[in-house]
């Protein structure tokens, strides 16, 4: 994995330090500051609307992290990740609405947290099911099998059967008061924001750790050279399935979070284009975990800015507002084209360059 160089004059004396996330105290300070800003600064300074936008960024980032794990780290190209997010969302919802929880779990507010974990596991297993073809096929052919996951899961099973449960048509809605974590009722954007920050931070932490140990290296090895990986004793099929499981697991977390964010659920929230969108996010964001997060911030913010521009324009050309969905898609396509042409390595590479410039300054040669 590429990493930034240390600033001039810094060096390590222990291996443990070299393995650390934060290589110097300055970096450690910066990261803690960042954590403080997102967990204290933003909630204090941003209004409800922008917190909602931040939640959307978090949701996109959780989804994109799963895609990054599949495409970026293991080279398993997927175009069906929305299916696993949907599985997570539906599992969580059904558990909350239909599962006969013992009274003490409901009164302690453990129902939703438990459902997040179960949703993640179910989504992970569902993902493994559709990852099985990866034992035999690679590249473009794998895209087709993951697309099959999308259509079978969302358009067939969820639309035709699961969403009919309860007999109230297509959509589920979660009555107020059902989504509760411990003593806190998740009923405002602010609380959803805190949930998002917690989930995202934990996911990023787990992923970072996983990627610097044996499992993560095995995934990268499979991506870079599967024959050599096999001769070094890596069971390729097992690690591919493990990758599908973890990606699906993260997708399941994203889905369960979506339930809390919207308190309603319909198969229309997980169209195939959402899978495609997530792939676009990591294309724009670039390599690594930070790539997925930069990409999410970029894409969601671009859409928000477009909306801000479109609202005054629609006074003169109402058609802009009517067709906003198409404008969004167009902007998405344009952004991907622009990135592929001008910065194929994505935002994270630009960020890396900026960081290194300052790390090596004034001896940049």
């Amino acid at each position: 994995m590429t990493r930034g160089w240390l600033p001039c004059g810094d060096y390590h004396q222990e291996y443990a330090k070299d393995h650390g996330w934060w290589q110097t105290n300055v970096i450690k300070g910066k990261m803690i500051l960042l954590l403080l800003i997102v967990s204290v600064g933003f909630p204090l300074s941003l209004g409800e609307y922008w917190l909602g936008v931040a939640n959307m960024i978090g949701y996109t980032a959780l989804g994109a992290l799963g895609v990054q794990l599949l495409i970026g780290y293991a080279g398993l190209i997927t175009l069906g990740h929305a299916a696993f997010i949907a599985v997570g969302a539906y599992t969580s919802t059904l558990l909350i609405l239909r599962f006969p929880w013992p009274q003490f779990i409901i009164s302690w507010g453990l129902g939703y947290p438990i459902s997040i974990i179960i949703a993640a596991i179910v989504a992970g297993l569902w993902s493994v099911l559709f990852g099985l073809p990866s034992a035999r096929v690679k590249g473009f052919y794998l895209i087709l099998t993951t697309m099959a996951a999308q259509f079978i899961t969302v358009d067939f099973i969820l639309t035709q059967y699961i969403s009919r449960i309860g007999g109230r048509g297509q959509a589920f809605s979660l009555p107020p008061g059902t989504i509760k974590i411990g003593p806190w009722l998740i009923d405002s954007d602010l609380k959803v924001y805190f949930l998002m920050i917690t989930l995202l931070t934990l996911t990023v932490m787990f992923m970072c750790n996983l990627l610097r140990t044996r499992v993560g290296r095995a995934w990268v090895a499979i991506r870079d050279n599967d024959i050599a990986a096999e001769t070094l004793g890596i069971n390729i099929v097992w690690y591919k399935l493990l990758n599908f499981f973890v990606a699906g697991f993260i997708g399941g977390i994203a889905g369960a979070f979506w339930v809390a964010n919207l308190a309603a659920l319909s198969p229309e929230h997980f169209p195939w284009s959402w899978s495609l969108w997530l792939v676009g996010v990591i294309l724009i964001g670039g390599a690594g975990i930070d790539g997925a997060i930069f990409g999410s911030i970029f894409m969601v913010m671009v859409m928000e800015i477009l909306q801000i521009i479109a609202i005054p324009l629609s006074e003169y050309w109402p058609i802009v507002f009517v067709n906003f969905a198409y404008i969004k898609d167009m902007a998405f396509g344009l952004a991907i084209c622009a990135f592929l042409i001008y910065e194929p390595r994505g935002l994270s590479y630009r960020w890396w360059q900026v960081k290194n410039y300052f790390n090596l300054w004034p001896f940049s040669y």
């Binding site: 590429t2 291996y15 992923m207 140990t213 044996r214 870079d224 050279n225 004793g233």
Partner: protein
């Protein structure tokens, strides 16, 4: 074998019996036998297309021979998959570099010790206690035993595909060593290197073969006759899938059949430099 069931020097560690391997109508290997004794450097030579690399791939499990048996430490490994063979102790380097281009040198070498680490997704994602300890112990091992041996301290944090060819070959050897193999299959480790790099590589091969710490049995495929004749204990000569001879380097060098097959009518010792 001694009482504990461990191999001793001179025992046959790797044995190929009557290996037949055909790709369509091309008979790549036609009843080849090979016996590698523990502690040896056993070279396989032959003109291009003789079936040397195919043989490596058969030992390694990437190809399944149509006929014949492969024994490793006395056990038949015909049906064992490549990654299981690596766990048994068969390491491998490649003729065309098969490094993980996007990873750093250190990560490439760490990759090799995959089978010696234990963390799974749960313990790996938390990274405390055992996982952290084993990662750091592994790092110490790699730094002190492999990076130091191969003299690649300066490039450990560089991305593998950016390195010059000679260093990449060295990193690949390091990666195979991190597996801590008992038998290492070296597929043309000197191809494309300059004289100095060839000398270094020969030194490394002798080091890992002779040093008490490693004592790795080497199966070496190489075109550089000077190196082969100097460092190997035994030499097997192949020609279009057939064994010509298998013997000591001096015998092989004087065998008129070998000279004919390998170099036409010229002197065997006239090599490309």
């Amino acid at each position: 074998m001694n009482k504990a069931g461990e191999m001793e020097e001179g025992d046959v560690i790797l044995k190929l019996e009557d290996i037949h391997m055909a790709f369509g109508k091309v008979q790549a290997l036609n009843g080849v036998d090979l016996e590698v004794k523990k502690g040896e450097i056993h070279s396989i030579i032959g003109p291009n297309g003789a079936g040397k690399t195919v043989m490596m791939n058969c030992i390694n499990g990437l190809y399944r021979p149509q006929k014949g048996n492969i024994y490793f430490k006395g056990e038949n490994i015909n049906r064992v998959s490549p990654h299981k063979r690596a766990e048994l102790g068969i390491g491998r380097t490649f003729q065309k570099l098969e490094l993980y281009g996007g990873m750093t040198v250190l990560d490439n070498i760490r990759m090799g010790s995959h089978i010696h680490l234990k963390s799974g997704i749960l313990s790996g994602s938390i990274y405390v206690g055992k996982t952290k300890k084993e990662e750091i112990e592994e790092r110490e091992f790699i730094e002190e035993e492999i990076i130091d041996l191969l003299e690649i301290e300066g490039i450990r944090d560089q991305v593998a595909h950016m390195l010059p060819y000679g260093l990449q070959k060295r990193v690949e050897l390091g990666r195979a060593l991190a597996l801590r193999p008992e038998v290492i299959l070296l597929d043309e480790p000197m191809a494309g290197l300059n004289l100095e790099e060839v000398e270094d590589m020969a030194r490394f091969i002798l080091d890992i073969n002779e040093e008490e710490r490693w004592k790795v049995t080497c199966v070496l495929v190489e075109h550089d006759m000077g190196v082969v004749m100097d460092i190997s204990h035994r030499v097997l000569v192949l020609d279009f899938g057939n064994t010509i001879t298998d013997g000591l380097p001096q015998e092989v060098g004087n065998n008129p059949q070998v000279v004919k097959a390998y170099l036409g009518e010229e002197d065997l010792y006239i090599t490309r430099r």
